[in-house]
Amino acid sequence: MNNRLKVLRAERDWSQADLAHALGVSRQTVNALETGRYDPSLPLAFKIARVFGQPIEAIFTED
């Protein structure tokens, strides 16, 4: 699954640690999400959408 996490984070000038703190996960998890090597659970995907104020489908897209 592809995602726009890195772009959205850069637009807000957040570090991975900032985003990790906002999501309540580790920085390593944010890194794994951004590289597309780990797909989040549905609850975490909703949380990401809430943090960025965008619908899930605007952040995550199928390969």
Partner: protein, 154 residues
Amino acid sequence: MAKGLKSVFLWSAVGLAALIALLFVAAAVVGFFSAEGSIDKDRAIVWVMAAFVTLIMIGAMVAGAAWMRSIDEAAREAHKAAWYWGGSGGMAVGGILLCLATLPQAGAMRIPSWLDGRTDPAAYAATGAFAMMLLMLIGYTVVWAWWWITRMRD
């Protein structure tokens, strides 16, 4: 370190310290009554140790559950993958040794004991169990590290 994780470590240390203190008290009681001749020391040691290790294992399970709840979902996935694939891989290697050990020809093999040179059946049973656990732990560690390394690269 996450707050929840700190709490798990703190309470684990407190619990372990309490159990060790309890063990010292139990050892003193056993020593007193065995010196009086009212109880059999060897039998009492086995019962005290059985109670101690049972509490240790229950504590380990409780701490494990609290720790699992304190880490995030990716960390949990890494451990699940490590438990299944690493543990199963280690068990598969141990399974080869286990199958070979059942052959009649294995009776002539000289197997080293890991328990202070003891060669009684209980020592060999413990050696086999330790060996299986060690192989599973190695597999677990390898898969856990692999899981994270492959997800940290850009």
